[in-house]
Symmetry: C2
Subunit: 296 residues, 2 copies
């Protein structure tokens, strides 16, 4: 008897689980901050999870060439490189500000890195309002201008840009692009080679979300980030919840994404200083996999 | 010579300042939490500020009849009574939940109190999602149903309801009505006797804000709350900024309101645990007045 042809129920379940885990990606920011990229790759690959999203600081610590070969060796899809953008020239906190040219150069470097590691997208976080200023509409114009400049370079390098609208709570210092509609309006002006990363945490509240996912369609839906919003959270920066622990109906949102033509991976991105970052990275990855199979 | 007919420049400035302060209101939540309503009324009136917004817990501590006579005696406009709504039947924190009937009764009591103290509006905070649930669209339906019920009573008592869309950061546990557009869509269905309270803190980020203010017009623009969003705030609940200390262009927003026909007072509402609540209430009121005259 050929076991492969008539598998037991148990074997079926294992195969189905493996197929499903192929659709899961872990954003490295979900693991405690001291975990290196090499270590993250090994932990995620050992669990037979399909993908990883990489942060630039960890990538540079590892070395781009070394990271590229580790990712290939472990057969991981790179669902995104985090992150470029920040067109106001300041990181959140506002301690250090860059000139326009420095900011564009930094974006070009990110594009090169994304090409090197074959990232499916380079995540664009628009940036906030410069410290001491109040002109929101000028800040939004900077974003449009900056994207126009870097998109040329991205197209040349074969890198796809994904604008990630961030929750309006970050409008002041991280992203003046707060909604899917704004991001898609930008894409309409900019043309090909750019789309959106839909993050459940940032978009779940938006009454216009479903309509904008439909509007985006397969061409513009480039990434899907999952986690949960804890009902009584007091820290919207570093207190994200694991799927299933909060108020977001992730099954419904994933259904909207897939019905609109999204066929990529679901990437878990959880910043959680007080909870998940306090655990062993292997344990966090185990829980991500279990919750993904159960709650998403 | 009649001084009243030919006032000195100095007297002109004093009169102008007094006229402008007539357009200012202080929400009691701007003062440290231990300040009684009676004390707040006296401090605000002494500064010759035009109005106050009252919170129900302080009102009940004072006694409604006593509050009514104090407000009349000091000739203060009551720009709002905070607050009714919470149609999910839970306050933020989720520790105590009410049945539908209990929640409606509580709204009826708030309507009666608003009538007693002659509040220009009763502020409606929609409420979030019940603890343990994930159905955002059901939560929004509760709000529409609840408003329908209480609006009848409000009309009977001559009380105007003002839906205050809260920042999306509060969507889970305080208000599933996050945008002006949502609030105005509700008003369109509900008819007369209801409009919106526009709070700068909650709405400044919204790319659709100006268009929705125009849409609302004088009939629906019932209150204007001001404060500021601190660029790098980490606590969106209790770390609001004084006008001028953050990223909001309040002059522009006030211009939009007035151009759209709003002729009411500007109400300062600042929850600030670490800064303004640590100061003497008289000093906070002084700063509110100075900033209002300079930055708004």
């Amino acid at each position: 008897m050929n076991k492969k042809k008539i598998p037991s129920k148990h074997t079926d379940e294992i195969q189905l689980r493996a197929l499903k885990l192929d659709l899961l990606s872990i954003n490295q920011a979900t693991l405690p901050p001291d975990v290196t990229l090499e270590s993250a790759i090994k932990i995620i690959a050992k669990k037979e999870i399909g993908g990883i999203a990489v942060w630039r600081d960890k990538l540079l610590d590892c070395g781009v060439t070394q990271a590229r070969s580790l990712l290939q060796e472990h057969d991981l899809v790179v669902t995104g490189l985090c992150r470029a953008g920040m067109f106001c020239g300041e990181e959140a906190g506002g301690s250090k500000s860059k000139s326009w040219d420095q900011m564009i150069d930094d974006n070009f470097a990110a594009i090169d890195e994304a090409a090197e590691i074959n990232a499916q997208v380079l995540i664009i976080v628009a940036g906030g309002i410069r410290t001491g200023e109040k002109d929101l509409s000028a800040a939004r114009t900077f974003v449009a201008d900056g994207l126009h400049v870097i998109l040329e370079r991205a197209r040349d390098r074969g890198v796809i840009l994904a604008i990630e609208p961030l929750h309006p709570v970050y409008c002041a210092n991280r992203s003046v692009v707060s909604t899917m509609k704004q991001a898609l309006d930008l894409c309409d002006v900019l043309g090909s080679g750019i789309g959106v990363a839909v993050d459940a945490y940032h978009t779940w509240w938006d009454p216009d979300l479903h309509a904008q996912i439909i509007r985006a369609g397969p061409e513009r839906l480039l990434a899907f980030h999952i986690c949960d919003w804890l009902r009584d959270t007091r820290d919207p920066l570093l207190d994200r919840g694991m799927m299933g622990d909060g108020v977001i109906d992730l099954q419904k949102m994933r259904g909207w994404m897939e019905a609109a033509g999204y066929s990529g991976l679901c990437e878990v991105e959880i910043f959680s200083e007080r909870n998940w970052w306090q655990r062993r990275p292997q344990d966090v990855v185990d829980v991500c996999a279990d919750r993904f199979l159960g709650d998403c």
